[in-house]
Structure formats: C-alpha cells, structure tokens
Amino acid sequence: MEGAVRPTGPTRSLGWLVICFLVLPITIVFPVSLTDRRYLSLPQDGISFEHYANLFGNREWLGSIGQSFYIGIFATVIAMAAGTLCAIGCWRLSTRASEFVRALMLVPIIVPTIVYALGIYRFWVDFRLLDTYTGVIIVHAVTGIPYVVITVSTALAGFDARLEQAARSLGASTWQTLWRVVLPGILPGLVSGAIFAFIHSWDELVVVLFIASRAVFTLPRRIWDGINEHLDPTMAAVAVILVLLTVVLLTVDLTVRRK
C-alpha cells in the first residue's frame, strides 16, 4: 500500500505550475538583457551585447561589485569562525543554557531588518562608524552568524559524537580534535553555512540604506537606486550576472551535500 494518497494527475500539474511561477519570472531578465533598445523590452530587431559592455565599462557598477565582494568575504570569514565555534560549543554542552543560546540566535532572523537598521544607525553614530567598511562588515557578520549556527548545528546533529570521544581518548587535544575530526566530518554543513553567510551579506540592502551613503555604496544599493531612478537594460545585465552567481553557488552546495 505504498503511496496510499498519491496526488492525482491534475494536482501534480498544478504543483509544477506553481514551480513555474517561482522560476519563470526570473528568467525574463535573460532576453531583456540582450535587447537592442535603450529601454526595458524584449529584443526587437536582433540581439545586442551593448548593455553588458555598458556594465563592464562602467566604473560605478564595477566599484560596487568590488565593494560588495570585499565586504561579503570579510563578513563571511568572521561569521563562519564565530558561528561554527558557537554551534560546536552548544552541541557539546546540550544543556538548557546552550539551548537558550541557540534560541537567542534565531532572533536576528525573526526581527524585521528595518527595526535593527534603526538601532544600528544610532549605535554607529556614537561609534563614528557610519559609512565605513568596518561598520558594514561588523553588521553583516553579526547578522550572518545565526545562519551559520543553524546550518552547522544541523550538520552536527548528523555527526557521530563518539568519533570525537574516540579522538580525545586516543590523546588528541581539543584543537586537534576540532581540526582533524569534527570540522572535516561536517564539511558539507560548513560549505552551506559559508554560502549562506556570503549571500546574506552580498544581498543585504536595508541596513546599508541606513548606515552607508557615499564611501560605501554596495551592489544592492546601486541596484536599488537603479530600479527607483532609471530603469535601463543595464540593470537586466546585472540581474543576469546575479542569477548566474546564484546558480553556481546552489550547484556547489547541492554537489557538496550529495557526497
């Protein structure tokens, strides 16, 4: 009696239709980026790579991509180091206190970013960190920690704790056990965590709207201004690059996790 309530044909089709609704609208940026017109449209008399040339010849766009990349890498490294240690610490303790720490880590995911943006703006005014790389990196790292803690905790739940005990009883130190046994054992979870933390920073707009203005002008900020001010097809070319980056990162994640 396997599959006693298998969905019928029409139900299945509707399910796939919803998947199409999820994926297809995004693909529209591909043809629009190749348009031969100067406004957002499908190609009319042939395709053109002019908008890609605009993008790669434009110092502002390239500058923003570079800034976002730089901030994303630093934020990811910090979030990974702190988040992974925290997840391992909680996993070793498994007490009510460590459960509380994990619950606390969910708060930044639940509270709307706009609320935090108000607070951190006032905070950075006092610390003179408005519109600085340091200010943005700290914020992205701290708000990225929860994603790392969740992903690494999930990986640890599937990791055999006896391996760690075996290493310890054979004389390995805390750090040796960590580097040689635990971390390699949860590598797929670490890769996922790092990708999550990077995307979180790379994509973050709301806080940046508050705490950065001129010196730091990240990619999401430039896209935001583009959408609100001049909708030209260069935006579609940027969108294509971002879609491709997402596809690459998702492929890496799925490949690592399937092993």
């Binding site: 709307p112 609320v115 920690i145 959408i227």
Partner: protein, 276 residues
C-alpha cells in the same frame, strides 16, 4: 580547564558579538520610542489617534493576510506533490524551490517590474494579442505588491510544510485505505489533520516575514501602496521623526513575539527553523 568551561569559550565570541552589536542597538530602539521627543508613551498614543498611521497599519494587515493565505494554499500544494514525487522529480522540484529562495530579492523585484509595469511585457503581450485595449494596472498597487510578496514567501512556506509532511507515517494512510476509506476521505481525515501543525507553523512564519518586509513592497508599491516597513523608513529618513519610527518598530516586534509565543504553545518552534 573543565569541558563545560571550554564549550562556553567556544560559544563566547558569537554570543558577545550578537549581544553587543545586535541586542544593544535593538534595546536602543525600544528606548528611543519612549524617550523622543519627550519621555513617555506619547508616540504610542499615535496608534490610536493618527489617521495616516492607521491607514498604513490596515493596508499592511490586509496585504499580509492575503499574502499568507495565497502562499499557504500554493505552498501546501507544492509540498504535497513534492512529498509524493519520485526521487528525480523531488530533486528537480527542490531546485525550483531553492533557486528563487537563494536569488537576490532585488533581482526578483526587478524581474517583476519588467513584467508588471504599464509598458511591461505582460501588458504588451496582452495588447498585441488583442485581449485588452488599455494596459492593466498590475503594479504600484496592492495587486503588484501581493504578487511580488507571494513569490518571495513561497519557498519559506514550502520548506517547513514539506518537513512536516515528510514526517507523516505512511502506514497510517495505508491503514486508513485498508479500513475502507476513499482517497479523498483519507486525505481529509488523516493526512490533513496530521499536517495541520506544519500548516499553522508555516502560516505564522510567512505572516511574520510579510509584516516587516521592506524591499519588494517598496519597489512594487511605488510609493502608492505603503506598508509599515516603508513607512518607518520614510518617517525616519525623510521627516526625521525617530520617536514615531521606533514606536512602530517596537509595535511590530511586540506583535511578532506575541504570535511566536502563541505558536510555541502549539508546536516546537525549533522544528520551524530547521534547528532541530
């Protein structure tokens, strides 16, 4: 050094960073809401007296309810099909769920703008097909905001629902069929009740994320349909009324935690966030 001590040393850096750089600024928001421009609850009185604020709150509530209802219906369908799909079908469907989830929210909003605006691709297509004469107003109104929000929220609804459905014991369904119930009856009286906690959890989650959503509503609402997050941004950035902005922010946090508290009495919250 004891093992417990060492474990806490591992936890310390992340905990310290989150407390100092996240919770301290958050508490500051609460404080500003009762201290600017003057000490007291005057800002909160505006919830009951200010017509513009009430309008924004009602718009927000309406959009969130519609978004959550539509998202849940579609997400339930996808999760149901996903649960019963072949391994290959599951993999493909999962990619269809994860790809938009990981996709930049700005890219998604931008794609919807190219499709929905007055000179957008949907209106052009409909006009050239002769189905309409005048372009339809598909964005800069609640319709556009809801479409964009449902698109954003769907993966966030599908994943917890899928997790809930996967944990349903297939033998219960087989038993129901074996005892003579039809497939519709089995679905309505066995599968649906068993998936109900997942449905409620996903619903609260989507509603909470909708409530404070800024980017997509701001872009697709175009300043005409204004939700509370955009209103807060406007109040603080343009009119510099920090007291009002932080009051609305605090109200939002209060509503969210009240919802989560209610939810925690029904289901284990950790399952919802994949923390367990």
């Amino acid at each position: 050094m004891s093992e417990r001590r060492k474990a806490w040393l591992f936890i310390a850096p992340a905990l310290a960073m989150v407390v100092v750089f996240y919770f301290t600024p958050l508490v500051r928001v609460l404080w500003v809401s009762v201290s600017e421009p003057a000490l007291g609850f005057d800002n909160y009185a505006m919830l009951f007296t200010s017509a513009p604020i009430q309008r924004v709150l009602i718009t927000t509530a309406r959009i969130c309810v519609f978004t959550t209802a539509i998202t849940l219906g579609l997400a339930y369908l996808v999760a149901y099909v996903l649960t019963h799909a072949s391994p290959a079908g599951q993999r493909l469907m999962m990619i269809g769920v994860l790809l938009p989830l990981w996709m930049s929210v700005l890219v998604r909003a931008f794609a919807w703008v190219t499709l929905l605006r007055r000179e957008g691709l949907i209106n052009k297509a409909l006009i050239s097909l002769g189905m309409i004469d005048e372009p339809l107003a598909l964005m800069w109104n609640e319709v556009g905001v809801t479409i964009g929000m449902v698109h954003y929220m769907l993966p966030l609804g599908i994943l917890p629902l899928w997790a809930a459905m996967r944990s349903i014991d297939n033998r219960l369904l087989a038993a129901s069929r074996g005892l003579g119930a039809g497939s519709l009856q089995t679905f309505l009286r066995v599968f649906l009740p068993l998936s109900l906690p997942g449905l409620i959890g996903a619903g609260v989650l989507v509603f909470i994320f909708s409530l404070g959503f800024f980017i997509t509503p701001a872009i697709l609402g175009g300043g005409k349909t204004i939700m509370v997050a955009e209103y807060i941004n406007h109040t603080v950035h343009e009119s510099l009324r920090w007291g009002v902005g932080t009051m609305l922010a605090t109200t939002m946090i209060a509503i969210i935690f009240a919802l989560l508290f209610g939810l925690s009495r029904i289901i284990d919250l950790r399952t919802l966030f994949g923390a367990k």
